[in-house]
């Protein structure tokens, strides 16, 4: 089948891929950012190919399928260093010997010509919360408050920790494939606006979730994605040019002082500095029962993401172990729990399309 002119133009662009990391994602995964034929995107909505890097633990396969269904057609899934799940049996597999870059290009070309059919949804396209025709107005609400109007749990009143306005507490699950969270991590977060009010761990990050990616994620969260990618080049962090750019960007001053302070006095600024100068040497932090709630509650979204990514993986897993898990968490009635499971953000909600 031939291509129309738009498809021909599109075939010349880098392949937009979204990466879902498994718990043994190959080391080369990050280097894909340097491949000029690929463009690694932050949301599945912008991707043509879902790249599953490493093995997705059994507990998270349902999340992978939900993520899969959020890619626009035409789409394909490629399992890299892992084998396709039963539901995604038509997906392609790539093993160690193959050149992933050219394989991705070929797959995209096949999608554009129609040689390869776009993958169908894995999950049924149905609302996660039944809302049509429910309630006095038929939009899922329960009168003034409560319910799931238009499929989203109603933001409810709750004590506010900042300005005293008791508004808009909204609980949802975030993760496990969000690019700003450590891979594998799912948090149940109660937000008021962009303020963290309560946080519980649904699933901790993988044991080898980041492989030293924390500093690059921090730079990205601080609006410097180009510098983050530069760190992928061998020994870039020692270069004088890189150091000058970091200073010029004002990134040190952009991080609020005392953010995410631990008992031994380290904060996001000092941990950022350490990772920047000595990336191969993890810091020894004394956490002493510090939990995620102590660190994140009362923080706004960007600050909270900076705090999460300022810890090395071992420390973060310890902090998660000190945090109440979702099962022991007593908030919300059963309907809120049920909605929190699917809702959340684009990566964990099956936004019907």
């Amino acid at each position: 089948m031939g291509m129309n002119w738009i498809a021909k133009l599109a075939a010349k662009a880098p392949v937009p891929i979204f990466i879902a990391r498994g718990n043994d994602a190959p080391d080369e995964t990050d280097k894909l950012h340097l491949n000029p034929n690929l463009s690694i995107v932050d949301t599945p909505r912008a991707a043509s190919i879902l790249l599953v890097a490493g093995t997705i633990p059994h507990a998270l396969t349902a999340h992978l399928h939900r993520l899969h269904d959020q890619l626009p057609h035409p789409r394909a899934t490629i399992f890299w260093h892992s084998s396709p799940t039963d539901q995604l049996s038509s997906a392609l597999g790539v093993t160690h010997g193959d050149d992933l870059g050219s394989f991705l290009l070929q797959t995209r070309a096949a999608l554009l010509t129609g040689e390869r059919a776009s993958e169908a949804d894995v999950l049924p396209d149905e609302p996660a919360n039944v809302w049509r025709g429910v309630g006095p107005h038929g939009q899922g609400g329960k009168g003034m408050m409560g319910g799931t109007p238009y499929g989203r749990p109603m933001a409810m009143t709750d004590d506010d920790m900042r300005d005293g306005l008791k508004l808009d507490a909204y609980t949802a699950d975030f993760g496990p494939f969000l690019t700003m969270l450590p891979s594998g991590m799912i948090l149940k977060i109660t937000l008021q606006g962009d303020l963290f009010q309560k946080v519980a761990v649904v699933s901790p990050p993988y044991e080898d979730a980041r492989q030293g990616r924390e500093i690059r994620t921090l730079l990205k969260l601080l609006g410097l994605p180009a510098l983050a990618n530069r760190l992928l080049i061998e020994n870039a962090h020692c270069e004088a040019g890189f150091k000058r750019l970091v200073t010029l960007s004002g990134v040190r001053r952009a991080i609020p002082p005392d953010l995410g302070r631990t008992h031994d006095g380290s904060d996001v600024r000092s941990r950022f500095e350490h990772m920047l100068n000595d990336p191969s040497n993890p810091q020894n932090l004394h956490l002493m029962g510090l939990g995620l709630g102590d660190l994140l509650e009362g923080r706004e979204w960007q600050e909270a993401m900076l705090i999460l990514n300022s810890f090395d993986n071992t420390s973060l897993r310890k902090i998660c172990a000190n945090t109440p898990t979702d099962a022991t968490d007593d908030m919300g009635d059963s309907s809120e729990q049920a909605s929190g499971g699917h809702e959340g953000m684009d990566h964990s909600s099956h936004g019907g399309h």
Binding site: I6, A7, L9, A10, K12, A13, P16, L34, D42, T43, R45, A46, S48, P72, H73, P74, L112, P127, A128, Y150, G151, R152, L178, T179, M180, G193, D194, K220, L221, L222, G223, L224, P225, A226, L227, A228, N229, R230, I233, A236, L248, S249, G250, R253, A254, I255, P256, E300, W301, Q302, E303, M305, E343, G344, M345, D346, S349, G351, G352, H353
Partner: protein, 305 residues
């Protein structure tokens, strides 16, 4: 009538060329900073084609009308910015005695449009991006109004055509040195770039555009670049003498100055770090706003002297 058709044609040409050029510059700066080789001149067309081959996904129970209106409105406001800019003496698509006020009204409309864009998909991360932008978009507009009024003082007119004419002897960027830098910060905010991108940033996986796919995504990105062109043209008119300049035709001067402003904004957006919202709010209210008062005071004193 002929004049209008001519000016309108120039506007379309300017906007199209500007969007393409901004996309290329953006790619060049970002890849240079990341230590990679430069991209081709046709890369923006290829990227747009990718979006156009993709399906436009619907989220659950979206506000379809406002989703469309936010993208179309953002693009339109960008075009209006360019339309109030005089391409030569008495050659503006919208020749208005109060064009500075008109542009100010457009600026505040942008906050509404960006909010709608985050509101429409009915999804949490988009909505967080939307109201976070409102928190920053409103206060950053205040310094912008003060520096624009300061620029209007020497001309004794709110008409951009008069403001250009008043810069024959000296450009506003020299007469009021604080004006342009403050206005550039507004530009970063209006175009959702770098240190002022609180709506579409990486910590929200794309924020208000996290749920955009297919043609919607292409449209929003084009509108952002168009806004950059419109803003740069207004900035070069208010502070860099617009179409004024020797030898070359006035329109060429305007285009050149616009490109310089555009390159500066893109460079700043890749260079400067983004701080958390609360810290930025403090910076705007406690430092940038007083500086913009100073700028206005300075302009007034110079006018009286």
């Amino acid at each position: 009538m002929m004049i209008f058709v001519l000016a309108f044609g120039m506007l379309i040409l300017f906007l199209t060329f500007g969007i393409w050029f901004a996309a290329v510059l953006d790619g060049v700066f970002s890849r240079r900073l990341s230590g990679q080789s430069a991209v081709g001149l046709l890369a923006p067309f290829h990227a747009a084609a990718v979006y156009l081959t993709q399906q436009r996904l619907r989220t659950e129970a979206p506000d379809q009308l406002n989703w469309f209106l936010s993208i179309a409105g953002y693009l339109s406001v960008a075009a209006i910015g360019l339309a109030v800019v005089p391409f030569g003496p008495d050659l503006a698509v919208i020749g208005l005695d109060t064009s500075v006020v008109f542009w100010g009204a457009c600026e505040s409309l942008i906050v509404v449009l960006i909010f709608l864009h985050g509101w429409s998909p009915n999804a949490p991360l988009s909505l967080i991006g939307a109201y976070r932008y409102v928190a920053i978009g409103l206060p950053i507009m205040l310094p912008s109004m003060f520096v624009l009024i300061a620029a209007a003082i020497p001309a004794q007119s709110l008409d951009l055509r008069e403001i250009v004419a008043s810069q024959e002897t000296m450009w506003n960027v020299i007469r009021q040195p604080l004006g342009l830098p403050l206005f550039l910060l507004l530009g970063l905010s209006l175009t959702l770039r770098g240190p002022f991108d609180y709506a579409d940033s990486e910590d929200l996986a794309g924020g208000t555009s996290a749920e955009d796919s297919g043609a919607n995504r292409a449209g929003w990105q084009v509108a952002r670049l168009a806004m950059l062109v419109g803003f740069s043209a207004v900035a070069s008119t208010a502070f860099l003498g617009g179409y004024l300049g020797p030898v070359l035709p006035g329109f060429v001067w305007l285009v050149l100055k616009t490109l310089v402003v555009m390159a500066t904004v893109i460079w700043l957006s890749h260079l400067l770090a983004r701080m958390p919202v609360a810290r930025m709010l403090g910076l705007i209210w406690k430092i940038l706003l007083p500086i913009s008062f100073l700028d206005l005071l300075w302009a007034g004193l110079v006018a009286l002297a």
